[in-house]
C-alpha cells in the first residue's frame, strides 16, 4: 500500500465515522422515551395548541423515518410517506445548512450558541493540552533516562496519582483555594470589563484562565508522563541506542537525535485519543469554573433539559474528535517512514 492509498483509506474511514455519528446523534434523541416538547419545555401549563405549534416548528409532527409506523407490528400503517417529509431528512437537510435547531431555553439557534462558545473551549483546551504535553513529556523523558532511581520512582508515583484525580474535584479544590487567594471565582471575564482597553481585557481573561488551565494540566500531565516514560524506556533499550553510544555520541545527542523521535510516536496517537477524554475534562472543568465554553454548555443544557443544545454539542464534540484522530493518523504517517512501506 503506498502513501496515497493509506491517506485515502484513512480519510474515507473518517468520513464514514462522521456519518455514523450523525445518524447516531439523530436516533439517540428520537428513540429514547419521552415527548421532547413536553419534557423539553417542562411547563405543565403549556396548552395543547401551543404544544402542537411547537411540534410543527421543530418538525416533530412528521414521521421519524419513512414507514417508521410500519415497523411497529401492533399498529401497521400505510407506507405512502414521502421520504423527504420525514424528521430524518429534515435533520440531514438542516445539518448541511449548518442548522442545528433552536435552544428550548433561550430560543436562539443552537449553531450560534455553539459558535460563540467553541473558541472559549479551544482556548482553554489548547493552553491545557500544550502545557500538559510539554510538562508530561519532559518529566517522562527525565524519568526514563534516570530509570530505577528515586527520581524515576517519584515521577511514576506522581503520574499515577495525577491520573487518579477526578478532574472536577481537583477543580473544586483549586477554586476553593484560589477564591481565598485573590483569584477570580470563575467565568471568563470580570463583568463590565468590556469597556476597558483591549490589553486590560486580555489580562483579565488570562487571570481567569490560570486556575482552569492548571487543573487541566495536572490531570492530563500524568498520562503523558506515564506514556512517555514507558515509550522511552523501550526505545533506550533498543540496539540502535547502543550503536549511537558506540559511535561516541554524548547522552544528550543520543536522547535528542535517536530516542526522542522514536519515543514520540506513541505520544502522537495518545494526543489524538486523548482528545475524546479532553472533552470529558472540559465538561468538568468548565462546569466548575463557569467557563463559557462547550463543556459549560453541556452542564447548563443538562440542568435545563435543553436537548437541542445537548444534541448540537454532542455532534460537534464527536466530529472534532474524529477529525483529530484523522490528523493524528496522518501525522504519524509523516513521522514514521515505515508507514509508507507497509
Amino acid at each position: 500500500m503506498n502513501r496515497y492509498q493509506f491517506l485515502w483509506k484513512k480519510i474515507a474511514w473518517a468520513l464514514f465515522t462522521i456519518l455514523f455519528v450523525v445518524v447516531l446523534n439523530f436516533f439517540l434523541f428520537r428513540i429514547l422515551p419521552g415527548d421532547p416538547v413536553r419534557s423539553g419545555t417542562r411547563d405543565p401549563r403549556l396548552k395543547k395548541d401551543a404544544q402542537e405549534a411547537l411540534r410543527i416548528r421543530f418538525g416533530l409532527d412528521k414521521p421519524v423515518i419513512p414507514c417508521f409506523e410500519t415497523l411497529n407490528p401492533i399498529k401497521p400503517g400505510d407506507c405512502a410517506v414521502n421520504p423527504f417529509e420525514t424528521q430524518f431528512f429534515l435533520y440531514l437537510r438542516n445539518l448541511t445548512q449548518g442548522e442545528l435547531g433552536y435552544s428550548f431555553h433561550t430560543n436562539r439557534p443552537v449553531a450560534d450558541v455553539l459558535g460563540e462558545r467553541l473558541w472559549n473551549t479551544i482556548l482553554l483546551i489548547g493552553a491545557g493540552q500544550l502545557l500538559s504535553i510539554v510538562i508530561g513529556v519532559l518529566f517522562g523523558m527525565f524519568a526514563a533516562w534516570k530509570a530505577r532511581t528515586s527520581i524515576d520512582y517519584g515521577a511514576l508515583i506522581t503520574g499515577l496519582v495525577a491520573w487518579s484525580l477526578p478532574t472536577f474535584w481537583l477543580g473544586i479544590i483549586l477554586l476553593f483555594w484560589g477564591s481565598n487567594n485573590g483569584f477570580p471565582i470563575g467565568g471568563k471575564a470580570t463583568p463590565g470589563i468590556s469597556s476597558f482597553p483591549f490589553l486590560y481585557q486580555a489580562g483579565d481573561v488570562f487571570k481567569h484562565m490560570i486556575l482552569p488551565t492548571i487543573t487541566y494540566t495536572i490531570v492530563y500531565m500524568g498520562e503523558y508522563l506515564l506514556v512517555m516514560r514507558s515509550s522511552l524506556l523501550d526505545v533506550l533499550a533498543e540496539d540502535y541506542i547502543l550503536t549511537a553510544k558506540a559511535k561516541g555520541l554524548t547522552t544528550f545527542q543520543i536522547l535528542k537525535d535517536h530516542a526522542l523521535k522514536n519515543a514520540m510516536l506513541p505520544i502522537v496517537t495518545i494526543i489524538a485519543i486523548n482528545l475524546g477524554f479532553t472533552v470529558a475534562g472540559a465538561i468538568q472543568i468548565e462546569s466548575v469554573y463557569s467557563w463559557p465554553g462547550l463543556g459549560g454548555a453541556v452542564y447548563e443544557a443538562l440542568e435545563r433539559r435543553d436537548y437541542p443544545v445537548l444534541q448540537g454539542v454532542f455532534l460537534l464534540i464527536a466530529v472534532s474528535v474524529v477529525l483529530a484522530n484523522l490528523i493524528a493518523d496522518l501525522t504519524y504517517s509523516f513521522l514514521d517512514p515505515r508507514v509508507q512501506a507497509d
Binding site: P166, F168, D239, I241, K247, I283, S287, L310, A318
Partner: protein, 643 residues
Amino acid sequence: MAFQTVEIKPAVPSSPLLGFWRIFSKNRMAVVGLVMLVVSIVVAVFAPLITPYDPQTSAGLTSGDIYNPPSAEHWLGTDDAGKDVFSSFIYGSRVSLIVGFFAAFISIVIGGVIGIVAGYYGGRLENLLMRFTDLLLVIPDLPLIVVIVALTKPSLFNIIFVIGILGWTTTARIVRSQTLAVKSRKFVLRARAIGAGNRHIIIHHVLPLVLPLLVVNAILVISLAILNESTLSFLGLGDPTAISWGQMLNFAFGRGAMSAGAWWALATPGFGIVWVVLALTLLGHGLEQVLNPRLESHHLMPGRLTVQSEAEVESTEKARRRESPVLLDVRNLSVQFVNNGTVAQAVQDVSFQLHEGEMMGLVGESGCGKTTLIMALNRLLPASGQISNGHVYFHGKDIASASEEELADVRWSGISIVFQGAMNALNPVRTVGDQIREAIVKHIPTMTPDQVDKRIVELLELVGITADHKDHFPHQYSGGMRQRAMIAMALSCNPQVVIADEPTTALDVMIQAQILELLDALRKRLGLAIIFVTHDLGVVAEMCDSVLVMYGGVTAEHADVDTIYNAPRHPYTQELLKAFPDLSQPEKRLVSIPGYPPKLDALPAGCRFAPRCPLAFERCLVEMPKQYELPGHHIASCHLVES
C-alpha cells in the same frame, strides 16, 4: 493510560498461584494498591457498623446544623442539609464500588467475547467486529454516557448499564490481539489437529492465557467506571436515592459550600474517589509489572566504575613474531554482572594483544563471554556490567579507567563495531546516510558539509551500495545491504580497530561470503586490525591470523591460526574442531560436544570445561588450571598441558 498490552508468558506449571503470589508480594506498588482496595471494600461492606449516623435521615436537624465544621460529634463536619459528612462519605464507597464492579463486569464480558470471537474466528467476522469497535472507540464516551443518562432515568441500574455497555472497546482490542497470539501457539494447533472443538479450545486453551491480561484490563475498566460515575453524579445525573461521592460534591458545590468555606464538605468525597481509583491504578500497574516483567534497564544508564581487584602483572605475552606494532593490549581483563546482589563472573582474566593489520578470531559457544568481552573493550557494558579487574591499553591509554570524554573520543574513531543484526542496530526513523553523517561530524569536525557528503558516498560505494541509497531508510535496504551499510558506518571515522560481532548471522550463504570477502579486502587495503567474533571455524581458518578460544568466560586457548587447527592443546578446542567439517578428511564423522556451557552465576569450582571434558581427571574438578604458556606464543588453560 499506560497499561501496555504485551503478550504474557504462561505461568510456571508447578503451583502457579503460589509462584504468582511470591512475585506479586515483592511488588510494592501492587501490594499497596491491593491493601488500599481491600480497605475500601471492608469499609463499604461494614458501613452501617462504622457510621455514627444514618446518612439518609435528616430528622431532628435544624438550620443551625448546616455546614458545621469538624467536631467531636461530627468528625468531618456536616453538609448542606446538616447531615454528617463522615457517614455519607462511608456510605458513598458502596455506590462507587457497586457501579465500578458491575459496570466493569458488563464491559469485560462484552469486550472479552467480542475480542475472543474476533481473534479466534478471524476473517470477515473479525473485520466487522473490529471495525465496529473502532467506530465506538472514536466517539468520546463520557459525553455519550452523559447524553444517554440524561435522556433516560438516572437510576443506579441505568448508570451501571450505560457505563458498562459503552466501556468495552479497549478490552475487545486487547483481548483480540492476545487471542491472535495464543491461537498460533503449538498446543492450540495440536489440540485442533486432534479434533478438539472450537468451544473446547477457546475454554481450555485460549481463555487461560487471555485471562491474566483480562484481569489487568478489568482493573483499569473498573477505575474508569468509578470516575465516570462520579462525574455523572457531579453533573447532577446521579441516582437521587443513593448517596455517592460525586453526588455529595454536586450538592456541596451547588449549595454554597464554597461561599460557606465548608472545605470538609468539598474535600472529603473527592478523597474517597482518589483513594479507590489510586488503589486500582497502583494495583493494575503493579500487576502488569508482575505479569509482564520488564528489566527497565537501558543503554543510557550510568555504567559501574572499573575496579582493580589485583595488582597489574606484566604482560604474559612476549613480543609476538609479528613485526607490526601492538594496537590493543588487553591485560587480565575480568568483567562481572551485578544483579540484585548476585554476582556473575562473565569474563575472567583474559589477556591478548592485537597488532596492526591482524585479524583475530574470537570463537566459543554462545554464552561463553565473547560479546561481553568485546563490549568491555569499548566500555559499552550494560548498567549491571562492571570491569572488575584488568586493563585495556589502546595507544598506551587505559580504556578501562578512561573518563567519559576520553571514551567518546576513542569510540568509533579508534575502535568501531559492526554489530550483529544490523536491522536493529540501525535507527529505523533516520536515513542510513544521516546515521553515517553524524559519526563523521562528531569525530572529524574539520570536514565541510560537502566533504562529508562526498565521504558518505565513497563509504557506501566502498561496500558496494550505490549513492542513490544514501537517503533511504534501513527498512528500504535488503538484509545484506544493511549489514554492508553497518560496515560502511564502522569505517566512517578511519578506526584502527574494527570489532565485527557475528556480522554474518541471519544472512544467506551467498551474502555471507560477500561480506566476509569485503571485510578481508578492506583490512588489507586500509590496514585495519579486526576482531572477528564467530561460530564459524571455517571462516576463521580462512581469514584469521590468530584465534582466541573462550570457554565459560576464560581463555581456553590462544595461538596463531595454524597452531589452533593443527596442534590444539586444549580439549575444548579439540572438541570444537571435531564438530567442524574438514575438506581434507571428507569421511570424518562430525561430533558435537554433549552438554552446555556453565551458567555464569554457577561456575564449577575447578576447570570450567571439566564437566563436559572427555579427558577430565580428579584435579580438573577441584583446581582451576592457570594459563600455561607453550612455545610459539601459544597459551592453553589445561592441567594436561603442564605435564
